[in-house]
């Protein structure tokens, strides 16, 4: 074990996971995104001074930080044009995100809506054409039940106004500070919308809290912030997702998610996302787990031109547990760079990471993960399993499971497989009556089965359906 560990210690993870602190001039000259812009956003939202201050501080950090463009195998971000961002985040500017008419959407997007069987009203809402989809109504009843127990579930703008004490303490202070990386800083400056979930002590929310199909026309779908706080002995499952591709002319999505799991609490965060193929999807998601707390991340990453997403958990209290389940699909022209990060900062902590990726038609998937076990985090254990399935010789997949182990009394397991879909397997299924596409779909469905069985049934069905559509090459 000790020699392995030495080897792992030498792995240069810092460079890949933390952005350089030195100044870069590349973004200094941004014309569009100025203090003035931020002030207008904040004013329009009727925000208190403290939030405006935080936005301005984040903006400054954004301008100072370099692009994460030196990671091995990472997506090329040179086409992300932050100058273009202003019309999409400033409510007073005429040119808006989305399109004005259903007919103006690209055909591939319209096709996808049709194939998913999404009704016209939702199509309009999802594409940002019509009014906000009235999902509020759906959980109104639920909300009343929760309110009696002190559970809060509302949009973030409302939370800023109504729960300032909680937000001042938790909003981008401990889990995802703007200084984390350039896009976290950008997010801190221009975030809009998202969900706030607060679960008091000794409370179990027995139904998944869903933020589903929630989009409105002021860029909410693109820079949303989610804050989940689960107090001691509480339990909640938060689901966020959208099977239809979110389309916007502006090509950057940069969300932020912060989760606080207190003593003996249990939080599951599940998401299935499908971005239109012009989108750069760059997110920062982080959880802090206290003593004997459990954090679970389940994510399905579909669509986008490039995705960089590494949900991370800091196991801060003794006996805390983290589970990560991720699935990614990359088709032609896509680079999906996902993974997981776990910091074992206390004894008896445990993490498991399961990652599955599929690449096809020249697509690229990377697993980029980090497990850090601090000195003193004795009796901790981690298990990392990443499997990649490729459809053809043009597609690529890399596995970068970095480990930093500073404690010797630990249990570390790691397994990785990379394989091409087997011709003999396909022929076997074909000989039983499945056509070529169905045979491959069945193999892929089997490949991701360990993941889909963890998802609520409707998400599992959707994820499978999305992958089927991707494989038919018919998704926008």
């Amino acid at each position: 074990m000790s020699s392995d560990q030495d080897h792992l210690k030498q792995t240069d993870t810092e460079k890949r996971f933390e952005f350089k602190k030195e100044e870069s001039s590349a973004f200094k000259a941004e014309k569009g995104l100025t203090e003035e812009t931020i002030r207008v956003i904040s004013e329009d939202k009727d925000e208190p001074q403290w939030m405006l201050d935080r936005r301005l501080r984040a903006l400054k950090q954004f301008h100072e930080m370099p692009m994460p463009d030196d990671w091995p195998g990472a997506p090329d971000l040179s086409e992300v044009d932050v100058d273009e961002i202003v019309p999409y985040i400033r409510p007073d500017v005429e040119t808006r995100g989305g399109v004005d008419d259903w007919n103006d959407l690209p055909d591939e997007i319209k096709d996808t809506f049709d194939k998913l069987g999404i009704p016209e009203a939702e199509k309009n809402a999802l594409s940002g054409v019509g009014a906000q989809y009235e999902s509020e109504v759906v959980y109104q009843n639920m909300q009343e039940r929760w309110e009696e127990k002190g559970v809060i579930f509302c949009d973030m703008d409302k939370a800023v106004r109504e729960h300032p004490e909680i937000l001042k303490e938790y909003f981008m202070t401990k889990a995802v500070p703007p200084s984390d990386n350039k896009f976290a800083a950008l997010h801190g400056a221009i975030w809009s919308g998202g969900s706030f979930v607060y679960v008091p002590e000794d409370t179990t929310v027995d139904m998944p809290v869903q933020a589903y199909f929630r989009m409105n026309s002021d860029g909410m779908g693109q820079f949303e912030h989610t804050l989940i706080i689960a107090e001691e002995n509480s339990e909640v499952h938060y689901i966020e997702g959208c099977s239809a591709p979110k389309y916007s002319e502006f090509n950057l999505h940069s969300g932020g998610v912060e989760v606080f799991v207190k003593e003996n609490a249990h939080v599951q965060y599940s998401t299935v996302q499908n971005w239109s193929k012009n989108t750069y999807n760059l997110n920062t998601k982080r959880a802090i787990a206290e003593e004997n707390a459990t954090m679970e991340w389940v994510s399905g990453s579909m669509g986008s031109k490039a995705t960089m997403l590494y949900p991370s958990t800091i196991l801060k209290g003794r006996g805390a547990t983290d589970n990560h389940i991720t699935i990614a699909f990359a088709g032609e022209g896509q680079n999906i760079d996902t993974g997981a990060k776990v910091y074992h900062n206390a004894p008896d902590t445990k993490s498991t990471i399961e990652s599955k990726s599929i690449s096809k038609d020249g697509g690229r998937t990377n697993y980029r993960g980090l497990v850090h076990i601090s000195d003193g985090a004795e009796n901790s254990s981690t298990s990392v399993e990443c499997d990649a399935l490729m459809f053809d010789n043009e597609s690529t997949s890399d596995t970068m499971p970095y480990m930093e182990i500073q404690e010797s009394k630990v249990d570390v397991a790691h397994e990785a497989t990379v394989g091409k879909i087997g011709d003999e397997d396909v022929f076997y299924l074909q000989s039983r009556g499945l056509d070529d596409d169905d045979a491959k779909q069945m193999i892929v469905a089997g490949f991701i089965e360990p993941i889909t069985e963890e998802l609520p049934i409707e998400y599992a069905v959707e994820l499978n359906r999305l992958i089927e559509l991707e494989m038919e090459g018919s998704l926008g």
């Binding site: 049709d114 194939k115 998913l116 069987g117 999404i118 009704p119 099977s243 087997g422 011709d423 003999e424 397997d425 022929f427 076997y428 299924l429 074909q430 000989s431 039983r432 009556g433 499945l434 056509d435 070529d436 169905d438 045979a439 069945m442 193999i443 469905a445 089997g446 490949f447 991701i448 089965e449 360990p450 409707e458 069905v461 959707e462 359906r465």
Partner: protein, 304 residues
Amino acid sequence: MARLELSNLHAKVAEDDGEKILDGVDLEVFSGEIHALMGPNGSGKSTTAKVIAGHPAYEVTDGEVLLHLEEGDFGEDFEIAEDKRTWNLLELEPNERAALGIFLGFQYPAEIEGVTMTNFLRTALNAKLEEREELFEDDDAEDEAEEEDVGYETSPMEGNVDEGEVGVAEFQQLLQEKMEQLDMDSKFAQRYLNAGFSGGEKKQNEVLQAAILEPSIAVLDEIDSGLDIDRLQDVSKGINALRDEQGTGVLQITHYQRILDYVEPDHVHVMLDGKIAESGGPELAEKLEDEGYDWVREQVYETA
């Protein structure tokens, strides 16, 4: 009654300068018949099986593989038009061949993780029935059918999609019956397809699949290799049932007389250097068991 006809079949490995393996195979199998195909290693038995099923690793350079059907082959209610009674299998995809009633029992069945036996077999059965409908449909009707196929019948959030011709409950009952017949543990239904199965279990599973898919002609490639005596009997019982209950024609590739004691062949063929060198009744298999293949070889060279 279905009839599989191989005539003057030549095939090679599908690559530049690929090895020639089949050198003029002539063979005819009627439904309801049991044929044993024997011969030394490398004589082309497995290749024959794979070419019949449409394996992409082989290229047919000459000859034909035809399937002749008659009214009633797919049940009384299924109409087979006059002009759709003879099919050139070499022009069809493997799944289309399956839809016409061809089944290949693999020597080394694939292991598919994450796909339960139940899910796989029901999907396969429905795919086969659907493909069959399409193959026998009036050509004019085809366009309409395709239109209907587009899209989801309901939203994924609202419920299940079309279950296919054989529904979940009906299928489970069918599967259970067939598994009992083969003396298979019912827990196999929820296991992943062949994943972690023993050699014997895999072979048993091949016969189970044939029993579910009800082929007109089943080609079984060394179904008896790696079986202990108990399982050999189970598998043999399953093969006999295919013929007796479903009228399946069986082309059984084997190295050993042993299975032929339980599954008595109507015809025995000996393959040598890519062709059928000798055909006869069950006594031919016994002679091979006693004397090996040398005498066949000598006979062929004498007449040559």
